[in-house]
């Protein structure tokens, strides 16, 4: 198994003006995202992105486009995904890229692409931005999974265009971007038909694809454009009443990147490489937030609630993809808790305003990104911290929280307008509901608190893991950090992913907990990546051989 020859430190910031692989065209209520992947535009130069196959760089552009449609083109009600190539919609993730990438990169690549597709569904569910996949020619693997994330799938009926998930028969891995989950859970394809579909490398086409529920409609080649147009307009009409816009401009974040520090306006990421520990510090707003819809609109991308969480998002992604050996992240906050709470309250009060709503939804996505990051998180609630409202969610997202018990009771946490359910986790529950799963009495009590909750109270309520006075504090925290950093990263990843999400399952939680976990196991197995494994042998002159043991 070859590891990526050139280390990739992708930049997660981009702009439609710089897209290499996508074209975004907005025409009133309908946006078109045309995929035409530049074969030589990959993040590394040792693979070619043929047939609209994608790597992380392609997906970063897609994620950017979906985000910009929400903030910069809120008038858009429907997004059409189509291909700029002849007879191929999208062939999925690039196989040579996958088979030559290190395991950690593969896992995080899949995680990011999964998040992008979930964000597309989030835009549909919460912002009324519907999507249509217009599939012509090859729509295979990740290509069909992208279509599955859309609200509707239209397939050309030309006797050869097919949708397929050929990963199992061709590559001995899984369709890793939610395909298996979505066909049965979202599209309700019968499980035995799904079984046939997922083991048929050439896929299913035409009327049968409709009959099985794999696509919503078919259209002949000559009627295809017309069908796209009709369906896009129908989708756009579905969510037409809400007043949205005008759009705002998402300006670049451009952090200052130094050897061990990445500094944003409100967020700082400090790395201690030797200890494999990072400190992620989030600063509260320095001024009062905009409180009316008009003021929120006027403040645009500059307002703390948006800017800070965009920065936090970028920092998490950099942690994930640039710093694979950082195992533990200490979450710190600094600043005035009342300003955070005022911000939350303003967002809550203006929830009917499109931008206030988008900002909240964005906050929720960033926090979910943190939830599924495979690093240990400890919240450090110390003097000067402001774990209040939306920033208290950081402490709730953490695997553990350490809180300083100070004599003058300045250290406190506090609930705000958004902690009751505005920022749900992937399991559909709030972080408080998840924390007190099965204990509604405590949950009620916590939700009934008003004002700052000092350390002893927080401890009593079960809102923190450990309270320590100033005599114990340094040792307790230091030892906990060192101990955590010494444990197996694999075991921790599995353990954290299992403990973080009690309660119900959703498509989202199944994708990350079940599908991704199996995929990541298969990605390590000799049948996929061993010297004779199918992923290794893909495109090679000889064929794979399997170890037939069932585990």
């Amino acid at each position: 198994m070859a590891d990526s020859s050139t280390p990739v430190a992708p930049n997660f910031e981009t702009h439609p003006d710089r897209y290499k692989h996508w074209q975004l065209d907005v025409d009133g209520a309908v946006a078109k995202l045309t995929m035409k992947v530049d074969p030589h535009g990959g993040l590394r130069d040792d693979y070619e992105l043929k047939l609209n196959s994608y790597d992380l760089g392609v997906d970063i552009e897609l994620a950017d486009a979906i985000q910009r449609i929400r903030f910069e083109h809120p008038e858009v009600r429907a997004v059409v995904f189509q291909s700029g190539l002849d007879r191929v919609f999208c062939a999925g993730a690039n196989i040579p890229m996958l088979s030559s990438s290190a395991h950690a990169f593969k896992v995080n690549f899949c995680k990011f692409t999964n998040e992008t597709r979930l964000y597309l569904e989030d835009a549909s569910a919460n912002s009324g931005i519907k999507s249509l996949a217009a599939c012509e020619g090859t729509c295979a693997g990740g290509g069909y999974e992208l279509a599955l994330a859309c609200d509707r799938i239209l397939l050309v009926d030309d006797g050869s265009s097919a949708v397929s998930l050929p990963e199992v028969p061709l590559l001995a891995v899984l369709p890793g971007t939610g395909g298996l989950t979505r066909i049965v859970d979202k599209r309700k394809v019968r499980r035995d038909l799904a079984d046939v579909f997922c083991t048929t490398s050439e896929g299913v086409r035409g009327k049968r694809a409709v009959d099985w529920g794999l696509v919503d409609a078919i259209a002949s080649r000559s009627k295809f454009e017309e069908a796209i147009d009709t369906q896009a307009k129908a989708l756009a009409a579905e969510g037409a009443d809400a007043k949205r816009g005008p759009g705002i401009t998402l300006d670049p974040l451009t952090p200052t990147v130094e050897e061990d520090t990445i500094t944003y306006r409100h967020v700082t990421l400090k790395l201690d490489r030797a200890a494999r520990v990072a400190t992620l510090t989030v600063n509260a707003p320095e001024s009062d937030p905009p409180t009316t819809g008009d003021a929120i609109q006027a403040a645009g991308a500059d307002q703390w609630a948006l800017r800070c969480f965009r920065e936090l998002d970028d920092a998490i992604l950099r942690l994930r993809m640039h710093h694979f050996d950082i195992g533990l992240v200490l979450l710190e906050t600094r600043g005035d808790a009342s300003k955070v709470l005022a911000t939350d309250a303003a967002l809550e009060a203006n929830q009917d305003h499109w931008l206030a709503s988008e900002i909240r939804l964005h906050m929720a996505r960033v926090l979910r990104r943190l939830d599924v990051s495979s690093r240990s998180f400890f919240a450090i609630i110390d003097e000067g911290s402001c774990f209040a409202g939306s920033l208290f969610e950081l402490a709730l997202a953490a695997d553990r929280s350490y809180m300083l018990e100070d004599d003058d009771e300045k250290v406190a946490v506090q609930l705000g307008a958004l902690n009751g359910g505005a920022l749900p986790m992937g399991n559909g529950l709030s972080r408080l509901q998840t924390r007190f799963f099965g204990d509604s009495a405590t949950l009620e009590k916590v939700l009934g608190t008003e004002g700052p909750i000092v350390t002893t109270d927080a401890d009593d309520l079960g809102l923190i893991t450990l309270a320590a006075d100033d005599i114990d504090w340094e040792d307790d925290v230091r030892i906990a950090i060192e101990e955590r950093a010494s444990l197996s990263p694999d075991a921790l990843t599995g353990m954290e992913a299992s403990l973080r999400f009690p309660g119900p399952e959703t498509v989202e939680s199944k994708i990350f907990a079940r599908l991704s976990a199996w995929q990541n196991w298969i990605f390590q197995r000799p049948n996929a990546v061993g010297p004779q494994g199918a992923l290794t042998k893909y495109g090679q002159p000889d064929r794979p051989t399997f170890d037939w043991t069932r585990c």
Partner: protein, 471 residues
């Protein structure tokens, strides 16, 4: 006539319920397709055609007058000579398969469907040609090619019906539903969606495009799936005739062009009602570059998989090669890197398509050399036809994103655009060729642009009445 009597075969059709059931449904659809998409007109005329009625030497080439819709499309497999073993790939030396191995179903079906699709496609492409045939002899040859392409479809459909269950029956139906050049239901391979509406293109098609078919069939005749090997082996005997129609058709156009050039005081073949050699060269450039696409990607994992799995061997695998594993060997091919042509070493199995293309190119070179001899014989000197480089004018594969001149040298797009009209047929060239397409149905007479053949079909005279019109 019962179904089993109307279908000559050596596959014991009469006692095969599965095949009978499938064909009972498919045969009427095939005939309907033939009426809709087969040769336009001439369906009631008596054509002097060859029919294969059995596989032995006396039966495979039975000549008689027949109306095309009454043609007896048969199902033949070349008889098996004892126990055969697979001759190549990772399964070399294992016993051949008489049934489709489950794990190879998808690959095999794809191979068979892709091959099968070209057969009806070419009939569709050529359906209007009868209206402007340059002679009765050529008209008969056209129909011979058409009915045999129809039989090749039968051969492939037999495999789908016999060995692929419900999937196979659906694919067999789909073969009759796709239409060459139809925007909604196009044929699978692009070359087979191009129009072949005049006879120079037809001869070029039979020479270059059908010749790809010969090499594909030859590779498949090595297959470890024995019914496919035997079916394609039998198809090759018929295919040889199609190729000769193409090669000699072009040769006769070349002969006439050379003679007309010599005869004309200004060396102007067109003034003599012939097609000039410059135009013929452009047609060669166009059709050759279109046909070489059909061999697939230069570096191909599909080709490697097919070979490794024992599904598709090399041309004359048993005769020509000693190492049938082809593992660890290297093939050097020119690729473009940093704006220059350089050589890249590719594992041989991944270069199987390219190796087959080599055989094909050599075969085409041989034909061009023959045409050049014809030019010399006509007394024309200083003019030679040539085969363009396989890199010239490509739409697919590793050369597609660059521009090459017919010699294969890398050039920029501006140069290509500037010279394009001197290399490839222009609209004016095509209009001129089209203007010559006047039917010539009097026995023994030839259109102005083509020389008479050297001899007739199966010992018959050139002025034999190859087609008896009933209308």
């Amino acid at each position: 006539m019962s179904l089993q009597d109307s279908i000559p075969n050596n596959v014991d059709l009469g006692s095969d319920r599965k095949l009978m059931r499938a064909l009972e449904k498919w045969q009427p659809n095939f005939l309907e397709w033939w009426r809709d998409m087969g040769p336009e007109g001439f369906q009631e005329d008596q054509i002097w055609l060859r029919t294969a009625i059995s596989v032995d030497a006396s039966g495979w080439a039975h000549y008689d007058y027949v109306k095309m819709p009454d043609y007896r499309w048969g199902i033949f497999l070349t008889p098996r000579d004892g126990e055969r073993t697979i001759g190549f790939g990772d399964v070399s030396e294992e016993k051949v398969w008489d049934e489709v191995p489950g794990e190879l179903r998808g690959m095999l079906r794809r191979i068979i469907v892709t091959q099968a699709d070209t057969e009806p496609a070419s009939v569709e492409q050529q359906r209007l040609l009868g209206k402007c045939a340059p002679s009765l002899y050529d008209l008969r040859n056209l129909f011979q090619v058409n009915v045999e392409e129809g039989r090749h479809l039968w051969a492939m459909v037999h495999l789908l019906h016999q060995y692929f269950g419900r999937d196979g029956r659906e694919e067999a139906e789909a073969l009759l539903e796709r239409r060459s050049g139809d925007v909604d239901k196009p044929r699978i391979l692009n070359t087979f969606n191009e129009r072949t509406d005049e006879w120079l293109s037809f001869f070029m098609f039979a020479m270059f495009t059908d010749r790809d078919g010969k090499y594909q069939l030859s590779s498949l005749s090595e297959s470890g799936f024995d019914p496919l090997a035997r079916a394609t082996q039998f198809m090759l005997t018929e295919e040889a005739f199609h190729l000769s129609v193409g090669e000699y058709g072009v040769d006769r156009a070349v002969q006439r062009a050379a003679e007309a050039t010599v005869a004309d005081s200004n060396d102007d073949a067109r003034a003599q009602g012939a097609i000039d050699l410059v135009t013929i060269q452009k047609y060669i450039n166009f059709w050759f570059s279109s046909a070489v696409e059909l061999f697939g990607g230069e570096i191909s994992s599909n080709a490697a998989d097919y070979f490794a799995a024992g599904l598709k061997g090399r041309h004359h695998e048993q005769k020509k090669y000693e190492d049938h594993a082809a593992l660890g060997e290297i093939y050097s091919m020119p690729i473009v890197e940093k704006g220059k042509l350089t050589s890249q070493e590719v594992p041989l199995r991944n270069a199987i398509n390219e190796q087959l293309r080599d055989e094909y190119v050599a075969d085409c070179e041989r034909a061009v050399a023959r045409w050049n001899k014809t030019i010399q014989k006509a007394g024309l000197t200083g003019v030679e036809l040539s085969l363009p480089s396989r890199r010239f004018n490509r739409r697919m594969g590793i050369y597609a994103e660059y521009h090459f001149d017919p010699r294969g040298d890398l050039i920029d797009e501006a140069t290509f655009e500037a010279k394009k009209d001197t290399w490839l047929p222009t609209a004016e060239d095509r209009a001129y060729v089209q203007s010559l397409m006047k039917p010539c149905y009097e026995p023994g007479k030839m259109a102005s642009w083509i020389a008479a053949p050297r001899k007739g079909v199966k010992g018959k005279a050139i002025d034999f009445e190859y087609v008896k019109f009933t209308g």
